[in-house]
């Protein structure tokens, strides 16, 4: 069944684009509701989970635009002390717990967090990001660079 197979994966998407678990759950429910309503429009041009991910991202962005989910991040605060990151170059060599990285991502301003999410994790191109967010390709690249710097700074500080 579609829900059983992809629910965890979509929940991960929801949690990356929402600031707390409650909003992520709402997004998950809304997203699967839309999936079932719009399943007829899926033409098989891509993998179904790719199609679903895009649908969830679009939904999340709509909610973010409306200021619905962006204001809370208590539940995502780090529960563990992060590993020390001595240099930019070597940060990926350290064993940093995933939730610490994702928590740090949450601490970025939305404009950087979203672009990092879309580019680094969801494999979207700058052109696609620019189209989704209504910004220029240059702006998307700029936000990605600044987002990386900010994230690295936060990880280092921790």
């Amino acid at each position: 069944m579609l829900f059983e197979k992809y629910a965890d994966k979509m929940m991960a998407v929801c949690m990356r684009y929402c600031k707390n678990k409650e909003d992520a759950r709402d997004l998950l429910h809304d997203g699967f509701y839309k999936v079932f309503i719009n399943i007829k429009s899926f033409k098989g041009e891509s993998k179904i989970d790719t199609w679903m991910t895009r649908l969830f991202i679009n939904l999340a962005l709509n909610k973010l635009r409306h200021g619905r989910t962006k204001y809370y991040h208590d539940e995502f605060e780090a529960k563990h002390e992060p590993s020390f990151l001595p240099t930019e170059e070597s940060s990926n060599k350290y064993n940093i717990e995933p939730n610490v990285v994702l928590d740090a991502l949450k601490q970025l301003p939305d404009i950087y967090e979203i672009v990092l999410n879309m580019y680094a994790i969801d494999n979207m191109s700058h052109k696609e990001i620019a189209s989704e967010l209504g910004i220029s390709v240059g702006s998307s690249k700029s936000r990605l660079s600044r987002g990386r710097v900010l994230l690295n700074t936060i990880l280092k500080r921790k």
Partner: protein
């Protein structure tokens, strides 16, 4: 910056572990509930439509009386026939000359409660019933609006009228009007803060956004159904399309992005120059609703052909389409109205009072109207509440189904 590309790998790796993203049965139940609710909602719409149609048909069929042009009318309610005698000079009960009169006052012959008869027969003599007034007589037809308590009426014609062109023979207490109304209006809104989220309103929102939104032209088209009671009250409903609108004229540049925590913007992060966003947008936003009004009205006659009608009540408004763009209260970015979470189901109060030209088979009315959304168009997650209102001129034509 290439040195930091490993950040992408780090993110990807972190996101691939989904221990933090487990769902349970409750999530599936929530989705299932939503899907079920949608089904029920569709059934509810059909049920409501069937109810409106059924009610309309019932009203119409119940109030159509048998007609005759032979001087005999059956009254559906008490089943007693009313006999109109067309023999000249047979009975004369009037104590005043009838020729050329537009209004006749007739003393009741019994002590029963007063009843009105409207007639279009100038030289109408009469009568042996509990009728207090015959008004506005004119050749060639007779219209009897209402009779109480008596089973028979005799109407006698003067000798010089050889034949009464007797038309209506419709006697009733209640009747139905069906018609169409068009309302050009000016639309605007009352904006207020949602106190629980007011900390999220951008410091430049009022200057850059709200002060540059204004009123705009809108319109409504409505099929209306009115059920007129035997007193002066009537109930009005219908189905139509209503528009609410606002004019927009934004011209500002976003140079900072807000940073919020616990529903409050704590500070603003300056953007890099390349991220500055110029917002220059002039246009008109439209919100289209399906409207189902339910009003209670009162009418007062001014003259034979004119009356004042006043109505007040509420309308259910189902948002069906939005066209335009609007700035976010949070980051001032421009958003398509379709991306906003607007309340789909709305309730508005409306009041209208105006002048109606009242003919035998139809009425034409012109009346100022004001309607105000009782709930905010934006949902509870918005820091700004918007209650649209319209004021305009309702122009309507109503056809009397069984008059």
């Amino acid at each position: 910056m290439d040195k930091l590309q490993h950040i992408d790998e780090l993110l990807k790796k972190s996101a691939s572990t989904r221990d933090y993203a487990k769902v349970d049965d409750n999530d599936w139940m929530a989705v299932e509930k939503k899907l079920k609710h949608r089904k029920n909602r569709i059934y509810a719409y059909w049920f409501f439509l069937a109810l409106v149609l059924g009610t309309s048909v019932t009203f119409i069929t119940q109030n159509v009386y048998h007609q005759s042009n032979k001087g005999i009318v059956k009254v559906q309610k008490n089943k007693n026939p009313i006999i109109i005698d067309q023999t000249p000079n047979k009975e004369k009960e009037l104590n005043q000359p009838t020729s050329g009169l537009k209004s006749l006052d007739i003393t009741p012959l019994t002590n029963t409660s007063p009843t009105k008869i409207r007639s279009k027969q100038t030289d109408l003599n009469t009568i042996n019933t509990n009728i207090t007034k015959i008004k506005y007589a004119k050749i060639p037809s007779i219209t009897i609006d209402e009779i109480k308590g008596e089973s028979k009426i005799k109407i006698t014609t003067p000798a010089y009228i050889s034949k009464i062109e007797y038309k209506p023979s419709i006697i009733k207490k209640n009747y139905v009007e069906i018609g169409f109304s068009f309302t050009p209006s000016i639309s605007n809104k009352v904006a207020s803060e949602n106190t629980t989220l007011s900390g999220l309103i951008n410091r430049n929102f009022y200057n850059n956004v709200l002060d540059n939104e204004g009123s705009s032209f809108a319109s409504s088209q409505l099929f209306s159904l009115q059920y007129h009671l035997n007193n002066r009250f009537f109930i009005s409903s219908g189905l139509g399309i209503t528009q609410k609108a606002e004019s927009i004229s934004y011209n500002y540049t976003i140079t900072e992005t807000p940073w919020s925590n616990n529903n409050t913007i704590e500070y603003y992060i300056p953007l890099a120059a390349i991220d500055y966003k110029k917002i220059d947008y002039v246009g008109s936003n439209s919100y289209h609703f399906i409207e189902i009004p339910l009003n209670v009205g009162f009418k007062t006659p001014l003259s034979p052909n004119f009356e004042i009608r006043g109505q007040m009540g509420a309308s259910y408004l189902k948002l069906v389409q939005t066209v335009g763009k609007k700035a976010s209260f949070y980051d001032l970015g421009l958003q398509d109205l379709n991306d906003l979470n607007l309340n789909q189901n709305n309730l508005s109060a409306n009041v209208k009072i105006g002048l109606y030209h009242n003919r035998r088979m139809f009425t034409v009315g012109v009346e100022p109207i004001i309607s105000y959304n009782l709930n905010s168009l934006t949902d509870n997650n918005s820091a700004i509440k918007l209650n649209p209102y319209n004021y305009g001129l309702n122009i309507s034509t109503q056809f009397k189904i069984n008059n």
